[in-house]
Symmetry: C2
Subunit: 312 residues, 2 copies
């Protein structure tokens, strides 16, 4: 039994039992993966994969149990490397943040800038996608931390910690009928076409539920994952924009009339997610704390210890 065999099995499962894909993903040859998996099965004395002739069609019952343990072995093995790096090269390494557009564009720039100044040797990368993808990247280890407003707290494998809270803002172009009003209401908005975030993004749930609660039906003419896209189409007069308050820039967006909508839609909580059982580098703690000052190393560690029970 060796780590390579376990990696092969894990990757094969992740690639939906396609051994060829797994081999490609791990930059190795298909026969090698095939042989190693067989040897692991021989050593453990059980089949992990159910085969129809030569095709992998499912995990066997022991395979289903094994895959959980294999994930844990590999997770801890990766932790070993991280502990090493944390001492060997305290201030260099790599930090991958999975997040959504709104966070990347409006909430993170200051944090990233400060981080780069403090840890110039750390290679930062932002992995951008919709919230379920953010969660998936963190779970698989492709990203170290995830930052998003939706869906991060729905996964057993993750620990989601509240980062900051925000509300929505309504924007309309200068000539719009609503632009003359002093304040705004859900009823007023509902009479116009709406442009806002796609499903599963940046508090979109909260927008829908707020209208539904008042029995209002709305006409969403355009959805985007991207506040800038939304603002662009609002400027073109396509509708009323509902965006995150942070996405309104006083200077750059002075062409748009803004209404505070914090009383109209529920408050949104943007969360920071880490995978349970992961060892975090010192600079990862620093990044999290810089993003959300309440999330100190101690508190993150406490959350990590709390959430530890993976599965019996």
């Amino acid at each position: 039994m060796n780590f390579q065999q376990l990696r092969y099995v894990r990757e094969t499962v992740r690639r939906r039992l396609n051994l060829t894909e797994a081999a490609r993903a791990l930059h190795t040859s298909q026969p090698g993966v095939s042989k190693q998996i067989r040897e692991l099965e021989d050593e453990l004395g059980v089949q992990i994969f159910e085969r129809h002739g030569r095709r992998f069609v499912a995990l066997t019952p022991p395979g289903r149990e094994l895959i959980g343990v294999i994930e844990r072995v590999l997770l801890e093995a990766e932790n070993l490397k991280r502990v090493g790096e944390n001492y060997a090269a305290r201030d260099s390494g790599r930090l991958t943040i999975a997040t959504t557009h709104t966070q990347a564009r409006y909430a993170l720039p200051q944090v990233v800038a400060a981080f780069r100044e403090r840890f110039p040797k750390v290679r930062l990368s932002l992995q951008q996608g919709h919230p379920p993808a953010v969660a998936r990247w963190v779970i698989s280890g492709e990203a170290d931390i995830g930052i998003a407003t939706e869906s991060l707290d729905h996964f057993d494998e993750l620990i989601a910690m509240p980062g900051y809270q925000w509300t929505h803002t309504v924007v309309v172009p200068p000539g719009h009928p609503l632009a003359r009003q002093r304040s705004i209401s859900l009823e007023a908005i509902a009479q116009h076409p709406i442009i806002t975030y796609s499903n599963e993004f940046a508090g979109r749930n909260h927008i829908d539920t707020a209208f539904e609660a008042k029995g209002l039906s709305i006409d969403v003419v355009l959805t985007a994952i991207d506040s800038d896209v939304i603002k662009t189409y609002v400027e073109l007069g396509l509708g009323v924009g509902i965006i995150a308050s942070v996405a309104y820039d006083e200077i750059r967006d002075r062409g748009l009339k803004r209404f505070d909508a914090s009383h109209l839609f529920p408050i949104n909580t943007t969360r920071v997610a880490i995978r349970k059982g992961t060892f975090l580098r010192d600079f990862t703690y620093a990044f999290i704390e810089s993003f959300a000052p309440e999330l100190t190393t101690e508190r993150v560690n406490a959350a990590l210890a709390e959430g530890k029970p993976l599965k019996g």
Copy 2:
């Protein structure tokens, strides 16, 4: 990085940083261990062991962090093997029970007999020692489960579950002054020499505290880890015996006068301990349940899941 390297490091730590002993314990050569440990250190980029010249004198700070992770990796790797065996050979394998004399001699025989009948192919072994040793064997994985009355609930690495409760019995030889009495009191016992269990054994704590609570000083003339030894010396007239009730055999011990002492000393709880995070074979669950019927597979699993937080 491979499992062998991790095993070498773990064993070296267990052997108090003596690499030669570690090599011997793992049936391999000293140079091999030396080289592999160095290669692991190179790969992780940190020293695990602090060396004075060529001697290992301590764990370095990263080493202290690594050893915990290494233990977990290897624990999970052993779980992989157990899962495999659990399916490959459902009813054969090996079960090692660490326990004390009293349990082995009086509480376990029926359980063992029933177990052997149900799982004839499982090789059973009893590892006998004092309670701290029992705990140590379970923690190190040398034993699968531990059964003892003392000290099992003092270890973070263990999950200790209440198995059964028992009380003490006082025994005296026929000619003893106390033998004429109908019942017995702590005050009466304290006037005679006492023979009972060694420290840290079979509720010895409870015996001492009961006397202390009444301000009685006692004269323990002989201690043993072994109820049979105690009874033998009581028969010889050396003193009053205080033993576990289960250790009194109505037939074999009819030469001794017995007093129930359940009202004199606190109730003792014998616990079953398993190491946190361990995968248990089906027959291990069966053994535990046979020993303590309330400890069903479900309850043991629940305790296992509860206790999972190892360390952040």
